[in-house]
């Protein structure tokens, strides 16, 4: 996956050397490589297949959420409701799991997507700012999850084997959540680069006015984008519920900020129109590796972990910004 975050001229051909050059100029990739080298040198357990699979699996749910967030941010919007939608989907899936896997998965995904559509309609048609709409949805969807479950976790029925498989199954050595993650990013990347819908996200993020005047059905695309973000958050929630064996109304608290951080660290600009799926995956993994290193070290106090995370986030974003600016000035 190339880092589409760079102002590369889309559609032009990449030579290997150029791709490498671009990659190295992306702050996130450099930081990820550095963190991995550091980890491998310091901890015997870091560069083991077991640990690599761990990191990938642990971050697959956030990865799905962050992919949806990437789409939204590319249009110049933001979706603060993803954490709550994730909880709603997990809870609904768990509640429906007694009726079988299919109703559970469809119900969870459908509910999250529906709430995403509500976001989209309020943003595109009623014209309320995305920050406000999704902030309200963050609150309201959490309320929904809490009310639906009487504030208790809901067990995933053991009969819903396909559902459980989503969270705990394996394809050869690859855990299913990881497979889903890879698949989702492949589709997302292709979609952004090679489908009209994907290109329109960039267009709207670049200038909504221009896109509208050039005849794009901006409202429909925006609604679809928030629906997609809702659905991906929902998928994340279902995988999480399946993995934990329970739908939790408090799951995903604060994930919106983690997802935004991952998207931004990857190099997608919050102003919209620039960035891509590949870079978000790098961002997710980078933040995941940091947590993994904290755990392997095991003796840093939780508060110093917070401090380090914040400083690290700033550092990457500053470097990222400089590189990007230098690049656009060339």
């Amino acid at each position: 996956m190339s880092t589409t975050s760079l102002p590369s001229v889309a559609g032009s051909r990449f030579t290997g050397a150029r791709a490498l050059g671009l990659l190295l100029r992306s702050g996130a990739v450099v930081a990820l490589v550095a963190a991995c080298i550091f980890g491998a040198m310091r901890y015997y357990a870091f560069a083991t297949p077991e640990n690599v699979v761990n990191v990938l699996r642990q971050n697959s749910m956030l990865g799905l959420v962050a992919l949806g967030m990437t789409f939204v941010i590319l249009t110049g919007g933001i979706d603060l409701s993803v954490g709550s939608l994730l909880a709603v989907a997990g809870v609904v899936a768990a509640m429906l799991s007694t009726h079988g896997s299919l109703p559970a998965i469809a119900g969870g995904l459908g509910t999250a997507m529906l709430l995403g559509i509500v976001n989209g309609v309020l943003i595109a048609k009623v014209r309320i700012q995305p920050f406000i709409v999704t902030l309200a949805m963050l609150i309201a969807a959490r309320a929904l999850a809490l009310a639906a479950t009487a504030e208790q976790s809901v067990t995933v029925s053991p009969d819903a084997s396909a559902l459980s498989w989503l969270g705990r199954g394996e394809l050869g050595p690859v855990p299913l959540p990881v497979a889903l993650l890879v698949l989702a990013y492949l589709i997302g990347w292709t979609m952004l680069r090679y489908t009209r819908f994907g290109r329109y996200l960039y267009a709207i993020g670049d200038s909504e006015d221009a896109a509208r005047l050039m005849g794009l059905p901006v409202d429909r695309i925006v609604i679809a984008t928030y629906a997609l973000s809702g659905a991906l958050a929902g998928l994340g929630g279902i995988v999480l519920a399946a993995r934990l064996g329970a739908g939790q109304p408090v799951a995903g608290t604060g994930w919106e900020l983690d997802a935004i951080a991952a998207v931004v660290v990857g190099g997608t600009l919050l102003t919209g129109g620039q960035g891509g799926a590949g870079s978000t995956l790098v961002g997710v993994l980078l933040l995941g590796v940091i947590f993994n290193l904290f755990n392997l070290e095991g003796t840093i106090s939780p508060w110093w972990q917070w401090v380090l995370r914040g400083v690290f986030l700033l550092g990457v974003v500053i470097v990222q910004g400089r590189l990007q600016r230098r690049l656009t000035h060339e």
Binding site: Y43, L244, G245, A251, E297, G298, P302
Partner: protein, 294 residues
């Protein structure tokens, strides 16, 4: 952080670190490990089950010899237990239960009994008020199992007394600040009707005491306040007469945990559940325990 050959390493997956009780628990384990020269690796799940599962996986990847797990919730930690089992790393649950069978999915449970804590609080109140009270309940974080357990135990205890009524139940998020604001508003609306406050933890009780005082109700006099935990500030409040009583929820799992580990290493057979003893603090004994409280 490199594994020294032969050294015994214990991993401790703490569920969160943002309140004194959890800090005291972690500290107790750290201190005891230090005393016995055992390496303790601590992770912090920041209150999220999902992160806690990841943390346990990381501990497994790090090849610790044993895992102490303070579960975020009853539900949801099954994959962590399974992974540990697959890696043949024994797990001891600390302070809360998680879904699974002792002896199969985990070795044993060093338990706090949260339902029992709520029940003891309820009984104390019933005895003090002769079974007649209008109670405001300040509950813990919505969705947290401790909150549900402490609510349940308390309700079980007062069910026998028809004149003990919960007139208001609002969440204070286990936080002093939130509870203070919420209590202020409830005082505005119910005023003198209130004769008792039951808070799911000491922090909220301390917030409620300030709100009552600000609202012109004398805590300890007009309104009996009781809570659970037994932290130092609460014992001091009991000493001042503001707080009626607090049921200890003992966070000092260190000695018990490492004694249990020793037994396990010696191959002794362990019961499925080992209860930590919770004391009860009120006017009579609070003062003498202030110094040793956390």
């Amino acid at each position: 952080a490199r594994k020294d050959a032969g050294a015994y390493v214990v991993g401790f997956s703490q569920m969160e670190s943002d309140n004194p009780w959890r800090l005291a628990e972690t500290k107790s384990l750290r201190d005891e490990a230090g005393k016995r020269r055992i390496q303790l690796v601590v992770t912090d799940a920041q209150g999220q089950t999902a992160k806690q599962v990841s943390d346990v996986e990381d501990l497994i990847a790090r090849h610790v010899d044993l895992i102490l797990l303070a579960p975020r919730e009853y539900q949801g930690l099954a994959p962590a237990l399974q992974a540990a089992k697959a890696a043949k790393i024994p797990v001891i649950l600390v302070d809360r239960e998680a879904a699974g069978t002792p002896g199969v999915d985990y070795v044993t449970l060093l338990a706090s009994n949260f339902v029992e804590q709520g029940r003891r609080a309820g009984e104390w109140l019933a005895a003090q008020t002769n079974g007649k009270a209008n109670i405001v309940e300040l509950s813990g974080t919505p969705g947290a199992s401790v909150a549900a357990d402490r609510a349940k135990g308390f309700r079980d205890a007062i069910a026998k007394y028809p004149d003990m009524k919960i007139v208001a139940s609002q969440t204070g998020n286990f936080s002093r600040a939130t509870a203070q604001g919420v209590m202020q508003n409830i005082v505005q609306s119910l005023g003198k009707q209130i004769t008792a406050v039951y808070a799911h933890n000491d922090e909220m009780a301390l917030g409620a005491i300030q709100a009552l005082a600000a609202g012109g109700l004398k805590p300890g006099h007009d309104v009996r306040v009781l809570s659970i935990d037994g932290e130092r500030a609460a014992l001091e409040a009991i000493d001042r007469g503001e707080l009626g009583a607090t049921v200890e929820s003992n966070p000092r799992f260190g000695p018990l945990a490492f004694d249990t580990i020793d037994k396990l290493r010696k191959g002794e057979k362990l019961p499925p559940k080992i209860l930590i003893t919770d004391r009860f603090f009120d006017r009579d004994n609070a003062k003498q325990f202030i110094a040793e409280a956390y």
